[in-house]
Symmetry: C2
Subunit: 406 residues, 2 copies
């Protein structure tokens, strides 16, 4: 394989936030555009849901402190590691030694990349869930692994995510070395049950599989949904990395902050890789971690409540459209929406609604090649604009339904 | 090879800034410590040489702008790409299209990692200079390349860096696919001559070798030293990436900003890799690029002059110590100091002076396994403290000279 062929697989034109790069092509535009405020559902809107109050002031103090905050060891500054380890231990229930079990990274994407790069060799079998975060499969491809997809029957499941545990068992028995999954799941927003988590942990332990658990949205689980931190269970595998960061619920994405915690030997490898990847999570930015898990009283509760209301308002819109469905989000800001057969392809449809309705969504194919009738939205938006945008989207969609569906 | 074996090669205990991680061991401490203000020569001191005036205010404006600055395409925000492309074109003389030839990265380390990762496949032969930046060889090892070292006879060269062009030619003829070098060189601080640059470019073009030129310190070239930007020459190879950033001379390291510019197809691959590595150079931090090449009148001239004075003061100290030498820096803030035979190993000596003299330097072995009698200093420090620290270092060193050397 040449380097060109390798990178052809890593396409990003349809990745969230990259829509402006798409080449112009003739689109089958039907009827008049539906005007309305632009909504970019490819990521959250930090203007509608502002960053943690006080975060900029903490950054400013870091800059003023100067050299001590600008240059830190590759894994992060000692006093910030201690602060974060204490917060994460309290939140998850896992024992995290700030000197051994924790690394600060440029965003959770950086944490995922370091975790993957320091746990797989070319040719290794790596299992991922379908659907799951779009970068997961691309990282496996970049590092030369062999992808083993594990189906998640999220639409038929109740009180659980719906991961196919038999398929996972078979994959582990057939030599999978590494398994990566997000909980709450991206793009569906479903949460793994206690039984699912314990089964995954026990199987990984038995088969000596390394686990990477992406818990990015675990602070935004909606009331009544039980959440299980795998890292805090009694029986965990020898190699376990958990990933978390303040980019989403806390709206601190502009600072690119992430963390990974877990097995000491793996964290050591991740630091070695960070040393050649980006040296460190930006020194000044690290200071902003001091606000994490120390938000003003009521801030997180209000944020979760606000998102639940947006979710419910959008689900109400969805329920009124024939042939359209979405599993109600249990954690996080995503909805994975299934749409009926159209007379245009999914990718064409997504470009059409961008043009005609001023609405950007992410195609389901980013989360698995089989999701040709799905798109993902991040509903961390202004509520009224988001509801209006979804109505425009479905109104445009109706113009493209296949005859038998109309 | 296992993942553990692979990462054993990527040791970072002796890497600049990581000294605090070194395990305690019994040292052969002779005589009394020499007290004095601590100097960490492993990196520049941004308290002694402050960040570009106005950089924090520009960052603040970015945060206040909100979503438009927090989320950008992976390669960077359009208006900032345009600003940087214009500045870099004017500085280097190369034609840089902001939409095609440029990417913003988390520090120049991020740029180097992306450039290496998107230009080599496992098994590829990759040439690097010895001595050169310590991460270069580690990146080749991480991506599974075969390292082909090219000697640089920097001590015998005048008016040129001293790279062994015959060895480079032979390497290219023997199948090297990629060649990476820094100019000004890190750790020596020597600058490649016009003839050296043109020879490298012509040979790379002839043998279809991809070039990565790390010009991190090219804004800090001392008066009277001609500097040649390879990217601006008539005959350049088809695949060429140049790397530059404001972390060093501009003291903006705490923001982690870097850029790479060059061949469109390579920049596209680098953006795909960035999408899974760290998504983007931190959104808010990108705003700080607006100060780059737009420093206040006289700021850069004064900074270069201040560093020349520190260099000269330290060279004066060095000249008085028998058996010690360093090639005078032509560009950048480094001196690569050769010391005589000691009764302790280089690594022991470096830990001893940290303990006894409160001085941190980087061992020569980080820049090539043969540099057992060298260390590197970054003299971007307070001048008086730096001079005093070097005097303490050599006073301690004298206690360890081999008998025949005393």
């Amino acid at each position: 394989m040449t380097i060109e062929e390798k990178f052809d697989m890593l396409g990003i034109d349809n990745a969230p936030g990259q829509e402006a790069l798409q080449k112009h092509q003739a689109l089958d535009l039907r009827g008049e555009p539906l005007p309305g405020p632009a909504v970019d559902f490819s990521h959250g809107d930090v203007n509608a849901h502002i960053p943690t109050p006080g975060s900029f002031e903490v950054f400013e103090r870091g800059v003023k402190e100067g050299a001590a905050q600008a240059y830190t060891p590759y894994r992060g500054r000692k006093l910030i590691l201690e602060h974060v380890a204490e917060s994460l231990s309290a939140f998850t229930g896992a024992a995290i030694d700030p000197e051994k079990n924790l690394i600060l990274t440029p965003g959770t994407q950086g944490a995922l990349f370091l975790a993957m790069g320091s746990n797989m060799m070319p040719g290794d079998k790596v299992a991922i869930v379908e659907p799951d975060y779009f970068a997961n499969r691309k990282m496996v491809e970049f590092f030369g692994g062999e992808l083993v997809p594990i189906p998640m029957h999220y639409e038929q499941a109740e009180g659980k995510a719906g991961i196919d545990l038999d398929a996972l068992k078979e994959a582990f028995e057939n030599g999978v070395r590494l398994f990566l999954f997000s909980n709450p799941n991206n793009p569906v927003g479903c949460v793994y049950s206690y039984d699912e988590i314990c089964s995954i942990a026990a199987m990984a332990r038995e088969h000596q599989v390394t686990l990477i658990v992406d818990e990015l949205y675990s602070r935004q689980v909606y009331p009544g949904i039980p959440y299980t931190h795998l890292c805090a269970q009694k029986e965990i595998p020898d190699n376990l990395i958990t990933i978390l960061g303040p980019s989403k619920t806390e709206s601190l994405s502009g600072y690119r902050l992430g963390t990974a915690f877990g097995t000491e030997a793996v964290i050591e490898r991740m630091e070695k890789l960070q040393a050649i990847m980006a040296l460190r999570c930006s020194g000044y930015n690290q200071a902003v971690f001091l606000t994490w898990f120390h938000e003003p009283e009521g801030f997180m509760e209000n944020r979760v409540k606000a998102h639940m209301e947006i979710r419910d308002a959008i689900l109400e819109v969805i329920r009124e459209v024939p042939g359209v469905s979405a599993r109600p989000t249990e954690g996080g800001s995503y909805l994975f929406v299934t749409i009926p057969e159209l007379e245009v392809s999914l990718h064409q449809f997504i470009r059409i609604i961008r043009e005609m309705a001023n609405v950007i969504v992410t195609p389901g194919t980013e989360f698995g090649p089989q999701y040709l009738h799905q798109f993902r939205i991040n509903f961390s938006q202004d509520k009224d604009n988001a509801v209006a945008a979804m109505k425009r989207l479905f109104a445009i969609m109706d113009r493209y339904r296949k005859q038998e569906e109309k």
